[in-house]
């Protein structure tokens, strides 16, 4: 069971053009969400190397969000498709390696979806609260798997 005082640590990798702007819109619309998340701005989800996700877990993140433009809306035409394809491949691989894939959320949030960003962050935070701290990752690290 999750500890009552447990505050999950969430790292988000978002693209500059859609989700970062969408999260800006959440702010401009003054919609509230839980403050556990830390956003790292990237140009595009195509830039998200899966090493970044592993690094975030290694650094003690309990969850990771990757979010970018909707399919067809990528500022760079196709970066998000590359991200999606890489996601499909790595999802299986990381699961095989023993990573808890419930802790990685892949989403599309456009620059107009400020409300969706707030909902997404709250849902992920609540979900991670239920899952509890990701202590298992250290065991994987020690075993040399991750």
């Amino acid at each position: 069971m999750a500890d009552e005082a447990f505050e999950p640590k969430i790292t988000a990798f978002v693209c500059n053009w859609c989700t970062y702007a969408g999260a800006d819109l959440t702010g401009t619309s003054r919609l509230k969400y839980q403050s556990n998340i830390r956003i790292i701005r990237l140009p595009c989800t195509g830039r998200v190397d899966f090493m970044l996700i592993q690094k975030a877990f290694a650094r003690g993140s309990d969850g990771v969000i990757v979010s970018g433009c909707h399919p067809n809306d990528c500022h760079y035409t196709s970066g998000n498709y590359h991200a999606r394809r890489r996601w499909m491949v790595f999802n299986d691989l990381m699961e095989f390696m023993g990573l808890d894939m419930r802790r990685v959320t892949f989403s599309w949030v456009s620059a107009a979806e400020g409300a969706k960003w707030a909902t997404l962050v709250n849902e992920v935070t609540d979900h991670l609260r239920e899952l509890g701290p990701y202590t298992e990752y250290q065991r994987l690290l020690n075993a040399g798997v991750a």
């Binding site: 403050s35 830039r47 970066g79 107009a112």
Partner: protein, 663 residues
């Protein structure tokens, strides 16, 4: 060791009310590498920027983190400020304490902690920033204007008058847009065609404008200053060079029962047609869906009638490729049809019409030569009810927004009815009268006071037919909701203005953002109202949101001024945040193994390869090479690279890992 400066902004109360800004600045002082930290009320103001400049000189800072609003807002401002003090612009990063922290969280210690984390993240990043120089890219000095309504016409003329080439693409066979359909314009009641058609002719005659009607944008690639656009010029089946516009063919066409879209379906046209008599260009189009020839029947009457043999049944669509430096989107709007209103009969009552249809009846060039008649029996209506806000300001069944133009054109319609038929009775049901604008309110007062139009404040719940009349049932809310029933001959819906059909697809082709309703989004609602979210693409007119003619023309001129300013330069400075393949001393030369996986992944064809040769010209190694002029800095190649030979300036692996490790 770096000497960084951290500047934390209160943004008035915007950050200061939820985040303990002084605490953030205090804690930043102790971060490794930070030589100076302070807070200030408004960092973006002149004194605020001066504070940053002074601190850079005083403390000999080699990097700056500004903790303020979103970098999408003021990153350029602060980058300029640090350059004034002699720092490289890219040695400045912005931590987003407003949109991503103070505005979305409640006042709490955890919010301040998050703010400190966000600053630390940028501090760790900026330590690893490298000075970068802007990239100079040549600009193609011509513009594309999409849409040939009044917005597009004004923008095209302004750009062309300043000496730049313009390519104008219009989807329909003729210029003019909705303005060509209007009868008279508020608040002066001058005839729409009289002020519009000369400008249409100006466009067609302008030496700097290439006009492509019956054409659509097929594909767009490239970026500001360097767009490559493929335009589909649809087959008119009429040779534009041979046609003299004599109109002989129009008379001979045996198909006479096609709904005339220019007249909003109120009259019939032939299968070969010119949308309206004053059309520019005055060249007919064969509507292949209705033409007998294209339905497999034997008919070539138009071709026989043509004195110059201009009819070409075998004409094919043409793809025209153009290169432009800027694009203006001026695609306009459409109105919500009567079929969208169940309480007004789902479009089944012919005498319930839209405002645009009323315009055609009231227009001297319309189906009745300006006599207001009703569609069902062609009689002149005695009692006409106008319903403002049909679909607008109706979150449940229509759209949430105000369509802005309806209050004014409804007053105009009622006035025109009274002017043309003095005995007629005009009723207007309204929610509020929104008549802000020069001479606008006076115009509405004139309709009420001089022309005797009856304004009833309230909504209509239902319309049904009885004994050849339309019974309009509503309530007068100024009389405490007393029921009102009017036996009308015709009902005119001031129906909501919607984004034009095909707007979404076009926005995708252009990579411009749209708002939740589907209108083109502006880059900033107040400060950048004619720019889209994509650099080099501008907007004008009702494609952004409903607006009237004066506002549209003003906005089109503004967009044209932006385009002209862009095209007046020969080169454009571009952000140097591009990818680069690393180089190493021989014998390795580079981590790149030449697999060229990146080449196929690059959406901009920015990656090619180069051969590294020895002095005898023998190829030692083939490695990827990125063209910094074409690279847009998405970083797809970076995460794809198997040997980590590619890195992205501004978002390097080192920087991002440092950001992650700071948390």
């Amino acid at each position: 060791m770096s000497r960084l400066g951290v500047f934390v902004c209160h943004c008035g109360e915007n950050i200061g009310a939820t985040v303990d800004v002084t605490e953030v600045a205090e804690r930043c002082k102790h971060m490794p590498g930070v030589a100076h930290a302070e807070d200030y009320k408004y960092l973006c103001s002149n004194p605020g920027q001066n504070k940053i400049k002074q601190a850079i000189e005083e403390h000999q800072l080699d990097g700056v983190v500004v903790a303020a609003c979103s970098p999408r807002m003021h990153e350029p401002t602060f980058r300029r400020a640090v350059t004034d003090a002699g720092l490289n612009a890219y040695m400045c990063e912005v931590a987003n304490l407003r949109e991503h922290c103070s505005w979305v969280h409640e006042k709490a210690d955890s919010t301040t902690e998050k703010a400190i984390d966000l600053v630390r993240l940028q501090v760790e990043k900026v330590k690893r920033n490298k000075p970068l120089d802007t990239i100079q890219v040549p600009i193609t000095r011509s513009a594309l204007v999409i849409g040939g309504g009044i917005a597009g016409i004004q923008a095209a003329l302004d750009i062309a008058d300043s000496g730049h080439k313009v390519i104008m693409v219009e989807r329909s066979p003729a210029l003019g847009g909705h303005m060509a359909q209007l009868s008279e314009t508020f608040p002066t009641l001058d005839c729409s065609q009289c002020i519009l058609t000369p400008r249409m002719v100006d466009v067609s005659r302008h030496p700097n404008i290439t006009l492509l009607t019956y054409s659509e944008v097929e594909h767009v690639e490239g970026f500001i200053g360097n767009f490559k656009v493929a335009i589909r010029k649809r087959a008119r089946m009429v040779d534009e060079d041979l046609c003299t516009g004599c109109g002989e063919c129009l008379q001979k066409c045996p198909t006479k029962n096609v709904a005339d879209s220019f007249n909003e379906g109120l009259s019939m046209r032939r299968a070969i047609y010119v949308p309206f008599a004053q059309a520019v260009p005055n060249i007919p189009v064969i509507d292949t869906e209705n033409c007998r020839k294209f339905q497999g029947k034997k008919c070539d009457r138009c071709a026989k009638a043509c004195p110059t043999k201009a009819i070409k049944f075998d004409q094919k669509d043409q793809i025209i490729n153009v290169e432009v430096g800027a694009i203006v989107v001026a695609t306009g709007y459409q109105v919500m049809g009567t079929e969208r209103f169940p309480e007004y009969g789902y479009g089944t009552y012919p005498d319930v019409i839209t405002g645009l249809q009323f315009e055609r009846y009231a227009s001297a060039s319309g189906p009745t030569q300006g006599v207001i008649k009703r569609p069902s029996d062609g009689k002149e209506p005695e009692t006409v009810v106008f319903l403002a806000c049909s679909g607008s300001r109706d979150a449940a069944k229509g759209v949430k927004y105000c369509s802005k133009i309806c209050c004014m054109y409804t007053a105009k319609h009622a006035m025109l009815l009274k002017h043309k038929n003095h005995h007629a009775k005009a009723y207007v049901f309204y929610m509020d009268i929104r008549s802000a604008g020069k001479n606008y309110d006076e115009f509405v007062r004139r309709a009420i006071e001089e022309d005797g139009v009856k304004y009833i404040r309230g909504r209509v719940s239902r319309i049904y037919e009885e004994d050849g009349k339309l019974i309009v049932k509503g309530a007068d809310t100024l009389l405490g909701g007393e029921p009102v029933e009017i036996k009308a001959d015709m009902v005119v819906l001031a129906s909501a203005a919607l984004p034009n059909h095909g707007q979404g697809e076009l926005a995708q082709k252009l990579h411009v953002g749209t708002d939740p309703y589907g209108f083109v989004a502006e880059a900033h609602p107040k400060l950048r109202p004619v720019e889209t979210t994509s650099a080099g693409i501008f907007l004008a007119g009702a494609c952004q949101s409903p607006r009237d003619i004066p506002e549209t023309v003003g906005q089109a001129s503004a967009a044209a001024a932006k385009v002209t300013a862009l095209l007046s330069r020969s080169h454009l400075a571009r952000e140097p945040l591009v990818a680069e393949v690393n180089r190493k001393p021989a014998p390795q030369f580079s981590d790149c193994t030449g697999c060229l996986l990146c080449e196929t992944a690059c959406p901009y064809q920015a990656i090619g390869h180069e051969e590294i040769k020895d002095r005898n010209g023998n190829v030692l190694k083939t490695v990827a090479k990125i063209n910094p002029g074409l690279c847009q800095g998405c970083g797809t190649c970076v995460s794809l690279c198997r040997t980590k030979a590619i890195d992205l300036h501004g978002y390097s692996n080192e920087q991002i890992f440092a950001e992650i490790m700071s948390l």
